[in-house]
Point group: D2
Chain length 258, copies 4
C-alpha cells in the first residue's frame, strides 16, 4: 500500500475493548459530559472550560426551535409521504439550512473574523465597522446579522447572549465589532438596525475561536433536535395534510377557474 | 375558516417581543439550559430533573461518534461532490440512520415497552424474557440490543450506562427485562449474548418514559453532531478522494481485465 | 486481496477510450437511445423492444408531474432556504416519495406478482381476486391501486395505460387480475372502486416482468424530472415565501391570541 | 384574500376528469411522448421538435451512468443503513451532484451564454475564446468543460455529441465558441485540452436555448435513473458491506497500532 494516504480520522476509532473519541475514552466521557460539551469536543478537539461551556450551550439552544419555519414544514410534508423514514423527514428539513438561514450566521462570523484578521493591532474598530458597512452599501446587500423582520424594537435573544458572553469573560473584539457595525449601519441607513440573534451568534463563534464555517454546522446540529421534535409532534397530531390542503385549495381554485 | 383545523404547533411560536418554546420563554432558557436538556424539553414537553438530565445526556453522547461508519463515509463523499452544501453532506449521512442503525435502538425499546405494557402487574419478568427470546428464535432474527460484531467480551458502554441509570434512581423494569433477555438468550443460543449499547439505550428510553419511536430520533440528533465534525475534518484534511480511489481501483482492475 | 469480494458493478465502467453501460458502448447508445429506453436498459440489463419501449415510457411519463403536491412544496421550501443547492431541493422532494406515494405502486405490483407466482396454472383468477380483497378487508386497509380522492368517476389515466398495454401486446395476467380485484372490491364494499393510475402502473410493471421493488424507483425517477421543473419555476417566479406565509399566518393568529 | 399572491404553478393541475401538464392534457401525452421529450416539455414549456428531441435525449443519456462514482457509493452505503427507504438512498446520491459534478456543466454553459450575450454581433469568436481563457488563467482555475482525468486522447462522448447536434441542425455559436476555447486553451497551456462531455453538454444546452441553470438539473434528472439502478443492483448483490470494510480495514489498522 506504498504511496497511499492513510484513511485516518482523528474523531473516533475503536478496538475490542475501547472506543476513543477525540483522544478521550468514550466510557469516561459518558456520564461526565453533557451533549453540548460533547459537541464542543467534536468540533474543537478538546473539552470546553466551564465558561466556554456556558456560552457554547447558550448559542446552541438559541437555534433549536423556531416554530413552523420552512424547514419544519418541509420535514412534516416529507414525513406525510414517507412515514417509514423519520431520518428522511429530518434530512429534508436540514437541507433547508443553507445560505439563507444557517448561512447568515456563517456570513456574520466570516465578516468579523476576516476584518479582525487583517486589522492592524492598533486599528480603531470604528474604522473597521465603517468599512464593512460601506462595502455592504456598495453591493446593496443587507448586512448579515442586523435587523429582524418580526422582532421589535430588537431581537430579544441578542442582549441575553451578549450578557452571557460578558458574564463568562468571553466578550471581546468580535462582539465589540458586531455592535459597532450596528451603530454605523443605523447611522448610514437612517434607521435602527440592531444586532439580531444570528449576528450575536456569529460574533460569539469568533470569541470561542471557532472558524466561521462552523456557523452553518451549529445551525444544522441545533435544528436537527427541533426537527425530530416536529416529527414527533406530527406523529401524535399531524398537520401535514392540512398544510397541503391550504396550498392546494388555492391551486384548486385556480384549476376550476382556469 | 370554519371547519378547518388550526395550524398550531406547541413546540414554538413568537411575537414581536417574545419567543416561546414548549411553554417556556426562550430568553430565560438561554444560559440556564444545556443543549442536552433543551433536547429533552423539545421531545418531552418539560425540562428534565437533574437525574433525568444525567441519564438523558449519557445516552445521547453515546451515539455521537463512531469513526468512519457508512454514514460518515457517505457524508464525506457527498461533500466531495457538493462542497457548497455542508447541510447536504450531513443530510446524506443522516439518511443512513435507518432501520439497521437507529432502528435497533427503536426495536429494543419497542420490544421492552410492548412486553411490559401487556404484562400483568405480578408477572414474573423471567417469563417475559423467555417469551421474547422464543419469538425471535421462531423468526430466526437476531435479538435487538444483544451482541456486538467488534467488542469482546462485552460492549464497554453498557455497564457504564446501566451504572449511571442506577446512580440516578432510574434503573427499573425496562433495564431489568433487557438484562433478563440477555441471560435467557445466552442460555437458548449457547453463547454469550451481552446487552450492547443500543440495547442499553433502548431500555433506558423506557425508564425515561419516552415512546420507543424516539429511539431513531435520538440517534439522528446525536449523529448530526458527529457528521458536522466529520465534514469539518474533511474541510481541513479530506479523505473522500482517497476513499473513492480505493473503491475505484478495484473497479478499474475489473475494467482492465473485463 | 485473497478472500475479498470484488467491488464490481455491472452497470458501468470505463477505460481510457471506452465507457460501457450494461455491456453496451455508451458512445453507440448516445443518439440511438432515448432517455426512457436508457432507463429501461439500466433497470433491466437490456434495451426494450419497440412494444416494451412504448409501454415503459407511457407509465414513466404518467408519474412526472402532479402540480403542488407535498413533495413539490417541500422542494420549493427547501430551495427558499438553500438556493445554492438545487440538488438539495430535489433531494428533499424525493424523500417524500415513500410508502404513501411511490409505495402504493410497489404494493399493487407486489400483491399481483405474489398472487400470480403462487397460483396454480389453471387457477381461476377470480378466486385470486376474491382472496386478495378478503385479505385487505380482514386488515381494514384500503386496497392498493383502487379508487381516487379526486378523480370521478375514474382516474382518466387508467383506461389510457391499459389501452397502450393492449395495443402493444403487453396486456396479460397482471392487468387481468388487477381489473378483477376492482370488480370484486366494488362488489364487496358496495361502491365503485375503479383501478387508479398507481394500480395500472403496478400491473403493467408485472407485464414488463419487472420486480415489484422497481415501482418506487420508477416513481423516484419520474418525479426527479418534475421536481427540477418546479425548482426552475421557483427560480423565475417564487411561491415559497407565499406558501410559508399562509402556514405562518395561522400560526401567528394562534400566537397573538395564545 | 386581497393582496395575496396566487399559489399557481403552470406545471400541472387537475380537476375531477382532467390532468393538465404545461397546458397539455396528460392523457393525450401518455403513449405519444417519451420520457425524454416529457422532460423537455417540463423544463421548456413546449414539446421538442424531432431535432431538439434527438439532441436533448442524447445529452441526457450521456449523464445517467458512470459506475462506482462517489454519489453511487454514497447511495449504496446509505441503503445499507436504511434499506426501508430506497428514496433516501437515491436522495443521498443526488446530494453529491453539486458544484463539482453537475456544476461543471452549469459553469461551461454559463461561460458560453454570458460571453455570447454580451458579444457584439460581428465580434470575432476567437477574441471571445481568448478572453475567456485569459480570465481563467488569471484566477488559476481549471477551465470548465476541458480535459479529462481518465480519457485519452479525448473524451469519446464529445465528438459523438457534436456530430448529433450538427446532424440535427443544432450546431451553432455555443459549440463553435466551446471548440475555440479548447484551441486557445491548448495553445495557452502548451498541452492538449480537448472539450470533455460536460463542456459538450454545456455548449449544447446553449444551442437548445436552455438557461445555464438547467445544467445541474439535467445532471440530477439523469443521475436519478442511474442511482435507482445502483440500488436495484445493491438489492440483488450488495457491495456496501465490502466497501465499508475496505475503508474500515485501514482505519482499524490505525486503531490497532494507534
Amino acid at each position: 500500500m506504498k504511496g497511499r494516504k492513510r484513511l485516518k480520522s482523528n474523531l473516533g476509532w475503536s478496538t475490542t475493548d475501547r472506543i476513543v473519541v477525540q483522544g478521550h475514552d468514550l466510557v469516561e466521557l459518558i456520564g461526565n459530559t453533557s451533549l453540548g460539551d460533547f459537541a464542543f469536543l467534536e468540533l474543537k478537539g478538546r473539552l470546553p472550560t466551564p465558561e466556554e461551556s456556558a456560552v457554547f450551550n447558550a448559542i446552541a439552544v438559541t437555534l433549536v426551535e423556531h416554530g413552523l419555519t420552512p424547514s419544519a414544514i418541509a420535514a412534516r410534508l416529507t414525513y406525510f409521504g414517507a412515514p417509514e423514514s423519520l431520518q428522511g423527514a429530518v434530512a429534508a428539513g436540514i437541507l433547508g439550512m443553507g445560505s439563507r438561514f444557517g448561512g447568515s450566521i456563517e456570513e456574520a462570523a466570516r465578516t468579523l473574523q476576516e476584518s479582525l484578521a487583517s486589522a492592524a493591532p492598533d486599528a480603531d474598530p470604528r474604522d473597521r465597522a465603517r468599512e464593512i458597512v460601506a462595502r455592504y452599501q456598495a453591493t446593496k446587500q443587507p448586512i448579515a446579522g442586523l435587523g429582524h423582520p418580526i422582532h421589535r424594537p430588537a431581537d430579544p435573544r441578542t442582549a441575553r447572549l451578549f450578557a452571557i458572553a460578558a458574564d463568562n469573560g468571553l466578550s471581546g473584539r468580535h462582539i465589540e465589532l458586531m455592535q459597532l457595525i450596528s451603530v454605523e449601519a443605523s447611522a448610514a441607513y437612517g434607521r435602527d438596525l440592531p444586532v439580531n440573534a444570528t449576528g450575536a451568534i456569529g460574533a460569539i463563534l469568533g470569541e470561542l475561536d471557532f472558524p466561521w464555517q462552523v456557523g452553518r454546522g451549529l445551525a444544522v446540529i441545533a435544528r436537527a433536535i427541533g426537527l425530530v421534535a416536529h416529527i414527533q409532534e406530527e406523529l401524535a397530531e399531524p398537520l401535514a395534510g392540512e398544510i397541503w390542503s391550504r396550498v392546494d385549495e388555492e391551486a384548486s381554485e385556480h384549476n376550476r377557474s382556469g
